[in-house]
């Protein structure tokens, strides 16, 4: 099952019990409906209720993006995996402050681990040009084996229960902040790694979900500082700017994250979980916030690594961006290139340790959902995703 992307303008229709895409130039292409995981619509496309009915019947979510490539919304077909019991459990784990905190901490630990993995990875490959930091054939399973020492240190920091538990909410972060803030304008990767690790060690001590989120925000801020060491120098990236993104790198992050968000949503749809009840993020009225929770853990692995690779190997260049308007956006060719690379990453296969079989990165997201289900139904405590390769 794959995602199918419609970037051209035209019409998607149901015909002969399958999907057909008619592009504006008159070409008509069949699309094997049984192979469609979800549909991504970037172009200006006509659809009708007949199609929506068909998509519901085949349980295919349809995600719509606007002209600039920003996420607009999803056609989320009627739920087909119902579980009243799980819904009750999901709500209870949200309402019980203790239970929610435990889940939120673990999710943020998972995302801390992913951030640290990226920093550590590029710290190891520090010498050489940016392009040399991207090994040939890295997509498709030839990732460098982890450095056991770093792994151990990271894991220990994340799981250490001995950390000062008197530590309290947001206000107390400031003294800590000053001790962690580096006077140096451009901290080295090693310094950033130390800072993020120190911040990660504080997750367990937070007594409030807001404070947990605060730590996660601070870690991410530090993590973005590492990008100037990772990307070739001509790519300016000072800080994360959204709505609209102000430069190329921010445009890529925004675009990539929206794809990952919908991917997570698609995986949640295939489970009994309700996508609106979340633990790290506040369950919002207008968002499927559980997808936001999940995507945090996978952004560094899927989106960020795809960006590093595309930029450092010179596949993306200035011609793939449009800065003529307020902000910076990907052009059509840029979108295609980036989507293809994201799709490649999602299809990357690794051997799952515990399951003893090969799974794709995309499937890891589904497995994460199952782990949540097991936690909520009291089968096994949740342990967030930590890349082990």
């Amino acid at each position: 099952m794959k995602n199918y992307y419609v970037l051209s303008n035209g019409r998607v229709r149901r015909e002969s019990n399958t999907l057909y895409i008619e592009t504006a130039d008159g070409a008509k292409k069949p699309l094997p409906v049984e192979d469609v995981e979800s549909l991504y619509v970037y172009g200006e496309v006509d659809i009708n209720t007949k199609l929506l009915n068909f998509l519901s019947q085949k349980r295919i979510p349809l995600h719509v993006f606007n002209y600039h490539g920003f996420y607009s919304g999803s056609y989320y077909p009627r739920e087909y995996l119902h579980s009243g019991y799980l819904l009750v459990q999901q709500v209870q784990h949200y309402q019980d402050a203790e239970k929610r905190l435990a889940l939120a901490r673990e999710i943020v630990r998972g995302s801390a681990h992913s951030l640290l993995r990226n920093i550590a990875y590029y710290d190891r490959r520090r010498p050489g040009t940016a392009a040399e930091r991207e090994p040939e054939g890295e997509i498709g399973n030839a990732e460098l084996p982890g450095d056991p020492e770093t792994e151990a240190a990271v894991d220990a920091a994340l799981d250490d229960p001995s950390v000062d538990t008197n530590f309290q909410a947001d206000d107390d972060l400031d003294p800590l902040e000053s001790s962690l803030t580096l006077n140096d304008d451009a901290p080295s990767l090693g310094q950033i790694r130390a800072t993020v690790t120190a911040l990660a060690a504080l997750i367990g001590a937070q007594t409030h979900v807001n404070a947990v989120r605060g730590v996660e925000g601070k870690m991410r801020e530090r993590y973005y500082q590492a990008w100037r060491h990772i990307l070739s120098s001509e790519w300016l990236f000072e800080r994360r700017v959204r709505r609209p993104p102000d430069n190329e790198v921010n445009a890529l992050i925004s675009f990539g994250n929206s794809v990952l968000y919908t991917t997570c949503l698609g995986e949640i749809y295939r489970t009994q979980l309700t996508p609106t009840i979340s633990y790290v993020h506040e369950p919002g009225a207008r968002r499927f916030s559980l997808a936001l929770d999940l995507s945090e853990m996978f952004k560094p692995l899927i989106v960020d690594r795809a960006i590093f690779r595309l930029i450092n190997t010179g596949q993306l260049d200035a011609s793939h961006f449009d800065k003529s308007m307020d902000g910076c956006f990907l052009t059509d060719a840029g979108k295609r290139l980036f989507l293809r690379s994201l799709e490649d990453r999602l299809a990357t296969i690794i051997k799952h340790r515990r399951l003893g079989r090969h799974v794709t990165y995309r499937h890891l997201i589904r497995l994460e959902c199952y782990k949540l289900v097991r936690h909520l139904t009291d089968v096994e405590p949740y342990r967030a995703f930590r890349a082990w390769w």
Partner: protein
């Protein structure tokens, strides 16, 4: 499962088979389909095909491989219907 399916079907039914197959796999040439299907989808597809074809006259051949890694796909001349999930 990675599948290559070719068929030789009586003229009256050939279009029916083609239409049916399009639900499951991308067509790469006339009478040739190729792509990835799960075990269950493959079983479902075969059951459906069986209902369309006349077993005494029509012929469908399937190569079923565990993974596309086993396939060295070579092309001579033009690739008539390239497979893609970007439109």
């Amino acid at each position: 499962m990675y599948i290559i399916l070719v068929y030789d079907i009586g003229e009256e039914r050939v279009h029916k088979v083609c239409k049916y197959m399009r639900r499951y796999l991308p067509r790469i040439q006339n009478s040739v389909f190729e792509g990835e299907l799960s075990d269950s989808k493959l079983a479902k597809m075969k059951a459906g095909l069986e209902k369309i074809i006349v077993s005494g006259r029509d012929s469908v051949l399937l190569w079923v491989m565990r993974d596309d890694h086993f396939v060295d796909r070579q092309i001579m001349g033009v690739e008539k219907l390239p497979v893609d999930n970007f439109f």
